[in-house]
Symmetry: C2
Subunit: 153 residues, 2 copies
DNA sequence: GCACGCACCGAATTTCGTTCGGCGGCTGCG
DNA sequence: CGCAGCCGCCGAACGAAATTCGGTGCGTGC
């Protein structure tokens, strides 16, 4: 994990579809070398995949929210079951299982504000393990690239 | 935005680096048609980019947390300034500007739990606009693909 | 019923990914 | 200090892919 690897990771986070040749040119190394580096990064598990990012507005789901959920009991079965349930919901984008005041933070996107209310009433309030929930509408959401290791790896 | 477009978006979220030929074969259309579709999706702003996903553990930042932050005053300048400040911090992965009890939710990743404490003390508690903050360690984080529009677009 | 337009297709061209043999530097040991 | 082994990088060659473009069929509106 040297400077070149970090640069590769940074570049591929910026644009995962740039050609290997372009990437190599940016880094000042040969394409074959670059390819070998990228393969090693994937095999080592540093790069886990490549994903297209979409505009939720363009997909007709402009309203995003974060749902704080408390569940009981906090057994492994209940937690895993609820997590699987959340992932199955089409509105769900991210699921955070957290320590502290809340147990789950659920990032959702819906077509309109009404859908948020429906979601809460139809999919959350009815479930027995859910003892409390609270929703926060998201005004802005910025996702940053991971620039690199904070400690030299 | 028909079924084919939805399938393209779904497939490219699963693997943004699969070849256009493979994608076309999956969809049962010609590669040239597929390419044209993908280009249109990008131009329409449905697909906003392609990003490599990385394993934070492999990058030496296994500890993730969500920081709830309240700031005052809630003026545009202060909000934008604080947001820009957050994005500049290398530990930050996501910034949510939210309504409700908290003003900001900040997703961070650090090398160790100590780093979390340092981050809070050094980067947050000193700032005058920050009136309150609270941190929740993340046990699990699942990111889902956006399967498609919830309403036919 | 006819003409227009749009989307799809398939072949041709260009570019790219991928492999492989060889080279240079670095390291560790004699 | 010299030598041998190794690892990573490079560049050319090959196969595969991206991209372009002209033709075609279908749906639509007049």
């Amino acid at each position: 994990m040297d400077d070149i690897d970090s640069a590769i990771v940074r570049e591929l986070q910026r644009d995962a579809r740039q050609t290997n040749r372009d990437l190599a040119r940016t880094l000042g190394i040969a394409p074959s070398t670059c390819l070998e580096r990228v393969r090693a990064l994937r095999q080592r598990g540093v790069i886990t995949g490549y994903r297209a990012t979409v505009d939720l507005r363009a997909l007709g789901r402009p309203v995003q929210a974060l749902l704080s959920v408390r569940i009981r009991p906090m057994s492994r079965e209940v937690i895993e079951g609820f997590k699987a349930y959340l992932i199955g919901l089409p509105e769900v984008l991210n699921v955070y299982v957290v320590a502290g005041g809340d147990d789950f933070l659920v990032h959702v996107a819906v077509p309109e504000v009404d859908g948020l209310h429906s979601l809460l009433m139809d999919r959350f309030s009815g479930r027995r393990e859910v003892v409390d929930f609270r929703s926060s509408v998201i005004y802005q959401h910025v996702t940053k690239d991971v620039v690199g290791p904070l400690v030299a790896g």
